[in-house]
Symmetry: none
C-alpha cells in the first residue's frame, strides 16, 4: 500500500511557511509501514488543486491532504474533492449544529461564510476537530481508494491525525517500519559508504548514508509484520555497522556529540572547561545545550586576542615560538582552562575563521586541543567555508577529540 | 514565466527532514516575481524521478531541483535529467581537476565514486560549489526551458543559488521585483502589524510581516519594469515603516543583531566583553560570528556555577541577597567582564534554561545586563521553550539591550 501527501495553500508556494505538516505525516506513515512515494504542495487554485487530487488518486491508494478547509473563498479543498469524485456537497445538519454550538460557546455569532465547514458529500464521513471550526473528511472512493482531508493549522492537523485518521489507516497498512540512525563525525559520505561495502545494497533492512551538517548519518531500516520482527531485522545490522565503523560512530538517533561527551564525562565523574579563540564561545555553548550540563561544565574563557590569551596564562614563548595559530597554543589554552577552573579536562581552540580576522591569512585553518592530567592531544582542522560553518566544524572537532580521549580511558 | 521546485531525497518522504530548501527557493522566486505553481518531493528512485522531471518540464518554464547530486548510487539527479533529455553524461575534465584538487587540499584521496560529480551533459553548464564536492547543473533544453540543479545540503544550495543561479533567472523574469526586509527584535507579529495599520493592505509595494526565529521581519516589495522604478516604489515605504517602528528596527536584509552591534561599537571606538551563565558562551559566539569582530570583542567568560561566578568577581552578598537568577547578578557579571578585560561595555546573563538545571525551578526565566562607565541596565527575559531556543532568545535580548544603549549615546 502506498500513500501520497498533498499540502494545500498558496503561502507554501510563496515560501512563507515551511511544510512541516508533510514531514510530520510522512514520518507517521513510515512508522505505520505505508510507503510514501510523492509529496506535493499546491496553491489555492481550483483547477490545479483538482488536477493534483486526480493524479494522486491515479497513482496512490491513500491521499492525505492538509489545508484549504477554512471558511473563506480561498479554501476549496472540499469543492475540489467533490468535483473530482463527481459529487455535490450538501450541508450536514449534525455538523451545522456542532459548528453553531462552537461559536455560541465562544460568545460569537457564526458568520454565514462558516456554513461551508458543515458541508459533506455522500462518500465522506466527517472527522471531528476539537481545536477548530474545520472538521476533516474521510472519503472512501468507489474503487476503495481513500482521501483523508485535515486542516492546515499544525496543532489541529496533529490532533485530528492522532485521534481520528491514524487508526483508520492502521487497519489498511501491511506491517510496520523501524529505523535506527547512527551518527558519525569525521569521515566523508563516500568513505563511510565504501567501508560499509555491500551492506548499502541490501533491501530489508536497508542501509543508507546521509551527509548532514553535524556529520554523516547511517540509517538502518526494516519493514516487517510487527515491531518485534522489524527490530529483529534491524538490530543485528546496526551492530554490524557499529563494528565496521568503530569509534567513528558517535551515537544513535537523538544523540549529539555534546550529549555523548556529557554522558561519558558523567559516567567517569569528570568535569570540563574550555578556553576558546576561533570558536568564540561556541564549544561552551554546545556543551551547555545538554540538560544537566551544569553538573560537569565548570566554565569557559573566550580569548579573542593575544593579550587576553597571555592574561589567561598562555606563555609568551609559546605564542612567539609557534604562533597564535598552532597546536601548541591550542594545548596551552586547554591547560589554562583546566588550571583556571580546576577541571579534569580542558579544551582549547585557535585558528583563523576568516574573512577579515588576522589579516585573512590562512582562513579555515584551526587547531583544537584537549588536555587532562595524563593526556595531551591536539588536532589540526581545515575547512574552507563561511565563518559560521568553520566555527561549527571546529567546535565539533574539539568535542569529538574529547569524546575519543574519553573512550580510550 | 513560472517555475517549479523539485526536492529529491527519500529522507523527505520518510519525514526525516522538513523541506526547508523548497520554502527558501519559493521565497526567492517570489522576490524575483516568478510564479511558483508546483512544489514536490520525490525519493531516490530513478523511474519516479524521471517522471517528475518530465512532468515539470511539460508545465513549467523553469525547474529547480535540490538533492541527489552526491557521489553515491542513491544520488541520481544527473542520470535522470540526462535520460529525460536523451543525452549521455561524460566526464568533464575541468570538473574532474577541480574535484581532485579539492580532495588534495583536504589531504584526502578522492574515492573513485566521486568521479560522477564531474559528469556533464552537452546542454548543461556546471555551477561551481565552493562549499562541497557536488557542482550543480544549469541545463537549457532545446525548447528554452531551464533546469537548475543544486545540492540538497542547505548551505551549499543557498550559496550556489545566491552566487550562480539567481542572476541567471533574473534575466529571464518579466520586470523586476525589489524587496527590502526590515528586521525587528522584541514585539510580536500582531503588535507590529497593528502599528503598521493600513500599510499591510497595500499591493505594490506590498508590506508583509513574518515571524522568524530572530524576531519579526517586515518585507516591503514592489514589481516594476526596471530596478530604478521598483526602488522608487519601495524606498519611501521603507522609510515610513522605519519611522513608525523607530528603534524596534534592528537593521535591514543581511544585518543581524550581532553585526549591527558590531558596527555601532566600531563607529564609537568601543569594545565589549561578556560573562555568561545561562547562555553558556552563545553571546560571545554570536558576537564573533561577525567578520572583523576581533577588533572590538576583547573576550568572554562562561560561569556555569556559583563558585566560578565568585571567582570572576561577583560578590558573595549579591548572590546571597538577590539569588543567582536576578538582575543584580546579571549586572555584577557584566561588571566582572568589563573589569577583567578592560572593555568599555560588559554583558552579563543569568537564568534557568531548564529542564534539569538548578532543580528545574522557574525554567525560562533569565536576566541580561549591560554596563559601561556611565550606564547600568538590565532586562528580565521569560521564554518557555526548548533549552536551545531559550538560550538563543536570551543571547539576542542581551545584544538588543546593548544595541539600544549604544543608540542612546
Amino acid at each position: 500500500m502506498n500513500a501520497e501527501i498533498l499540502s494545500i495553500g498558496t503561502e507554501l508556494l510563496l515560501g512563507e511557511i515551511v511544510d512541516a505538516n508533510a514531514a510530520f505525516l510522512a514520518g507517521e506513515l513510515a512508522v505505520l509501514g505505508i510507503n510514501v512515494y510523492w509529496i506535493s504542495q499546491v496553491g489555492d487554485n481550483r483547477g490545479r488543486l483538482e488536477e493534483a487530487i486526480r493524479r494522486a488518486l491515479e497513482r496512490s491508494n491513500v491521499v492525505l491532504t492538509t489545508g484549504g478547509l477554512g471558511p473563506t473563498d480561498d479554501d476549496m479543498t472540499r469543492e475540489a474533492i467533490a468535483a473530482v469524485l463527481g459529487e455535490g456537497p450538501v450541508i450536514d445538519h449534525e455538523l451545522e449544529r456542532t459548528l453553531r454550538a462552537r461559536f455560541r460557546a465562544m460568545g460569537r455569532e457564526m458568520p454565514e461564510k462558516n456554513l461551508k465547514q458543515a458541508w459533506l458529500i455522500s462518500s465522506a464521513e466527517p472527522l471531528p476537530n476539537p481545536l477548530g471550526t474545520a472538521p476533516g473528511w474521510w472519503v472512501t472512493a468507489p474503487d476503495g481508494r481513500v482521501i483523508g482531508s485535515m486542516p492546515g493549522v499544525p496543532s489541529e492537523m496533529r490532533t485530528m491525525w492522532t485521534e481520528q485518521a491514524r487508526h483508520r489507516l492502521e487497519h489498511l497498512a501491511d506491517g510496520v517500519f523501524v529505523a535506527v540512525t547512527l551518527k558519525t563525525f569525521g569521515p566523508g559520505e563516500s568513505a563511510i559508504e565504501e567501508r560499509l561495502g555491500d551492506l548499502v545494497k541490501a533491501a530489508n533492512p536497508s542501509v543508507a548514508t546521509y551527509a548532514k551538517r553535524d556529520g554523516v548519518q547511517v540509517r538502518v531500516a526494516a519493514r516487517a509484520a510487527d515491531r518485534k520482527q522489524a527490530r529483529a531485522l534491524v538490530d543485528p545490522v546496526v551492530e554490524r555497522v557499529k563494528r565496521i565503523l568503530g569509534a567513528e560512530v558517535v551515537g544513535a538517533d537523538d544523540d549529539s556529540l555534546a550529549s555523548v561527551v556529557g554522558d561519558l564525562l558523567q559516567a567517569r565523574h569528570h568535569s570540563v572547561a574550555s578556553a576558546e579563540s576561533i570558536t568564540g564561545g561556541l564549544i561552551a555553548s554546545y556543551l551547555t545545550d545538554v540538560p544537566g550540563s551544569s553538573g560537569y561544565v565548570l566554565g569557559g574563557l573566550v580569548a579573542y586576542n593575544e593579550d587576553v590569551k597571555r592574561g589567561f596564562g598562555v606563555a609568551d614563548e609559546v605564542l612567539q615560538e609557534h604562533g597564535v595559530v598552532s597546536a601548541e597554543t591550542a594545548l596551552a589554552l586547554a591547560d589554562a582552562a583546566r588550571d583556571r577552573f580546576g577541571a579534569s579536562f580542558g579544551i582549547g581552540s585557535t585558528g583563523v575563521a576568516g574573512p577579515g580576522a588576522h589579516g585573512g591569512e590562512n582562513p579555515g585553518l584551526a587547531f583544537v586541543a584537549v588536555t587532562s592530567i595524563d593526556q595531551r592531544q591536539s588536532r589540526q582542522v581545515r575547512r574552507i567555508a563561511p565563518r559560521e560553518t568553520v566555527k561549527h566544524f571546529v567546535a565539533l572537532s574539539a568535542l569529538d577529540l574529547l569524546r575519543r580521549m574519553l573512550l580510550d580511558k
